[in-house]
């Protein structure tokens, strides 16, 4: 058993830390630390700085502008970003589509689309879910019919994160209704500015606009935008989902949030004592802290097996369940720690345009909102129920 980083890994960690401290914008960090949504522009400026350093897509091969980071380097980078309150890299292009293009796309597709992800010319979104196809993704109905050099796409996608910002979408579409549902699915890239596409916002219960519905009416898509082979899209989609589920432990982010929560509880008073001294509060907090500490080791154990050449299996499902639930627990206790102040919902209180009364503590501006918004964490990216199905099938063989 050897749990230390190598000298090289330690040096890399120092380099990341110093880059972050030199380059992060304080007002963006403050938004992130208070859970306030950041703007598209905030993301774009950050992507650009990372790209200048070559770190926007650190796991990519060097030939495409990456650093060929291994799992530990990726882990170090993400944990340092999480600690520092850096904005999350928007994953749809560099983290999700790129691996698919590299493995299954044509050389022409790679050469054209990958550089544009780095420069920010394209903002990608993901067209997987449909109103009738959530957990049962293979039942999707959006159709693409070949018509000469084009496909004609009709149907509807939903829960599309940041579609309002995107100029491109990668979609799963039905190109055949024969055989099993999985066998008639293709993976295709669609220009969001094509005629026949309409994006409608879905406002979430906290009042945020992150996700959208997208309607496709006779949308013409060049046939060269098909990735890989027709009707093989399910394979590519599963490959992508495996990628999506790694790195969901979010240990550094949760640790940062616990520190913030502790500060809140030190400042709040219950029975004229700091709330942090209240035995029931302290017990709730300590249990979360221990769960998180355990998750940190569970996550490192998974990373270590990958580093030692073992394939990551359903372990990523364990990480997904724990990561999401622990973050929800923290959000829950944060809300509780604010007492009556938790009624407030003023997410704009940290924006420059806000002219309402000051929200004290600042965390209260969006604490309940974030608590409700983060209920999504156990629903999206394969609901925790689906993760339990996976564990049951792949790890327990039930």
């Amino acid at each position: 058993m050897d749990l230390n980083f190598t000298k090289e890994q330690e040096n890399f960690q120092i380099e990341v830390r110093s880059f972050l401290s030199d380059n992060l914008e304080p007002q963006v960090v403050e938004k992130v630390k208070n859970g306030i949504p950041i703007t598209k522009e905030d993301s774009e400026r950050w992507h650009q700085k990372l790209n200048e350093k070559g770190w926007l897509a650190g796991t990519w091969p060097k030939q495409y502008g990456g650093q060929e980071w291994d799992v530990v380097e990726k882990f170090i980078f993400e944990e340092e970003c999480g600690s520092a309150g850096a904005p999350r890299i928007v994953p749809f292009g560099v983290g999700m589509l790129a691996p698919v293009l590299m493995k299954f796309g044509s050389q022409e597709q790679r050469d054209y689309w990958l550089p544009r992800m780095l420069t920010g010319e394209d903002w990608w979104c993901q067209g997987y879910s449909e109103p009738g196809s959530g957990s049962d993704l293979a039942s999707l109905k959006t159709s693409a019919v070949r018509d000469g050099d084009h496909y004609i796409v009709n149907g509807q996608k939903t829960w599309t994160t940041f579609a309002q910002h995107a100029n491109m979408i990668f979609c799963l579409v039905r190109t055949s209704t024969e055989g099993k549902p999985q066998e008639g699915i293709s993976f295709i890239l669609i220009d969001m500015n094509s005629p026949g596409i309409e994006v409608r916002p879905i406002i979430t219960l906290d009042g945020s606009h992150e996700v959208n519905e997208i309607f496709f009416s006779d949308v013409k898509v060049p046939a060269k935008n098909l990735v890989g082979e027709e009707n093989k899209g399910w394979t590519y989609a599963k490959y992508l989902l495996t990628h999506e589920r790694t790195g969901n432990a979010n240990v550094a982010v949760s640790k940062r949030k616990i520190q913030k929560l502790k500060k809140l509880a030190d400042d709040a008073k219950k029975n004229e004592q700091p709330l942090s001294n209240d035995p029931m509060f302290a017990s709730r907090l300590a249990q979360i802290e221990i769960d998180l500490q355990n998750l940190e080791i569970t996550n490192l154990r998974t990373l270590a097996s990958v580093e030692n050449g073992e394939a990551p299996g359903a372990e990523s499902s364990i990480i997904k369940i724990l990561g999401s639930e622990i973050e929800q627990d923290i959000d829950n206790l944060t809300r509780k720690s604010l007492g009556k102040r938790a009624f407030v919902n003023e997410p704009d209180a940290l924006s420059s345009g806000y002219n309402g009364a000051e929200v004290v503590p600042k965390a209260a501006a969006y604490a309940s909102g974030k608590y409700f918004n983060h209920r999504k964490k156990s629903i999206y990216a394969g609901s925790n129920e689906i993760q339990k199905n996976i564990i049951s099938k792949l790890m327990l063989n039930l």
Binding site: S135, L205, K269, K336, G339, A342, A357, I379
Partner: protein, 373 residues
């Protein structure tokens, strides 16, 4: 033994239920609840016309209700409707306090019924002190026998539109002492009052109030100087019974919405309600909701029993807090993405249900209080 409400109360409940289903659309409610006013004046007036306020108020003050069972029945119906209008704040908290006052103050209760005033209790001071006796706002006696109030009140719902504030304050005693608490009933345009308002997550505006040397005459005290803790305490206990009952109505509605969703939403070719893991979770929710209802019935039974009242009230608020959060979180999860949307009703019920735990003491506070009694 008979747990059914009386026929009159059942009719009232059914009338309100039908009214909310037909006349109080949740999309209109949501627009009003998150507007600058925080509720709909039109809906407020329409619902007053149904006699809801009267059903909360004693006959001697022109109402026709006011018993624990009346309040519980009406607030369960209000919960089903997710009503954001200030029935709790005006019809319970303010009316209860004013009913212990002098004739002028009592007459304000009657004016409430005529929609001629909107008094609001301004009591809570820090975000996390839930003790009913926690008051630091200072009442100082002036040379001429009048008083001045200085201090701050926090998170007072529907305060921005109030005509009167019922301000708790103290001239003696420690911050949490029951002795020394007074209540002043003053118009909200009195000099020295500052109001900062905020939007809320569950609808309705909430305000922080600052009182800077606000002048009070001795006739404006409700009850005797320094002796008004029991008035506030009674009002808050009644408020707890009311919002616990509101939570029951919300939970019943959530149960209906969730069952409907489980029966219609299909994945893998069958309604998701056919999956056993889902069935067992839903069955567990039903069991919990029945227990929550029993806790409220228990508090209602003992509401006029001096020795058992506080204990059963705390047991009910604890049960509602714990079970409410579970029901809210599980129902969202069972709805998947649908439960996350503004457009669909469920999320709004879930938000109010969770936030009820933040009013008048959360589950931890009431469990500790239960232990201490």
């Amino acid at each position: 033994m008979d747990f059914k409400p009386s026929p009159e109360r059942q009719i009232l409940f059914d009338t309100l239920k039908k009214y909310f289903e037909k006349e109080y659309s949740l999309s209109d409610r949501n627009i009003a609840a998150h507007s600058d006013l925080g509720y709909s004046k039109k809906a407020w007036e329409a619902m007053r016309d149904l006699g809801i306020l009267e059903s909360l108020i004693d006959p001697e003050l022109d109402g026709f209700g006011g018993t624990a069972l009346d309040i519980s029945t009406v607030f369960e119906a209000l919960g089903r409707g997710l009503v954001v209008e200030p029935f709790l704040e005006v019809g319970i908290l303010a009316a209860k306090v004013l009913s212990k006052g002098n004739d002028v103050q009592k007459s304000l209760v009657k004016k409430i019924l005529k929609n001629e005033c909107l008094p609001i209790l301004a009591h809570s001071e820090t975000d996390t002190e839930y003790s009913k006796s926690f008051v630091e706002t200072k009442l100082s006696v002036e040379a001429d026998g009048s008083y001045k109030i200085s201090g701050a009140k926090r998170m007072i719902k529907h305060a921005a539109e109030a005509t009167h504030f019922l301000v708790t304050c103290r001239n003696t005693g420690d911050a949490s002492s029951e002795a020394g608490i007074s209540i002043a009933c003053i118009p909200t345009d009195r000099e020295g009052i500052k109001i900062d308002s905020f939007a809320t997550i569950d609808g309705g505006r909430v305000s922080d109030l600052t009182f800077s040397n606000v002048s009070i005459s001795s006739e404006e005290l409700v009850g005797e100087l320094g002796m008004s803790y029991s008035i506030v305490s009674d009002a808050i206990d009644t408020g707890i019974l009311a919002i616990c009952s509101e939570a029951l109505g919300i939970m019943e509605r959530i149960k209906e919405l969730t069952l409907e969703y489980l029966k219609t939403r299909k994945q893998f070719g069958v309604p998701i309600g056919k999956f056993q893991a889902i069935q067992h979770r839903m069955a567990q929710l039903l069991v919990e909701i029945e227990q929550a209802r029993s806790s409220v019935i228990n508090a209602t039974i003992y509401f006029d029993d001096e020795t058992e009242k506080e204990k059963t009230i705390s047991a009910a608020k604890f049960s509602i807090g714990k079970i409410g959060t579970l029901v809210a979180e599980e129902s969202i999860q069972l709805h998947g993405g649908m439960g996350m949307t503004w457009e669909y009703d469920l999320g709004h019920y879930a938000k109010r249900l969770v936030l009820i735990d933040h009013e008048f003491g959360d589950e931890d506070f009431h469990l500790q209080k239960y232990i201490s009694l």
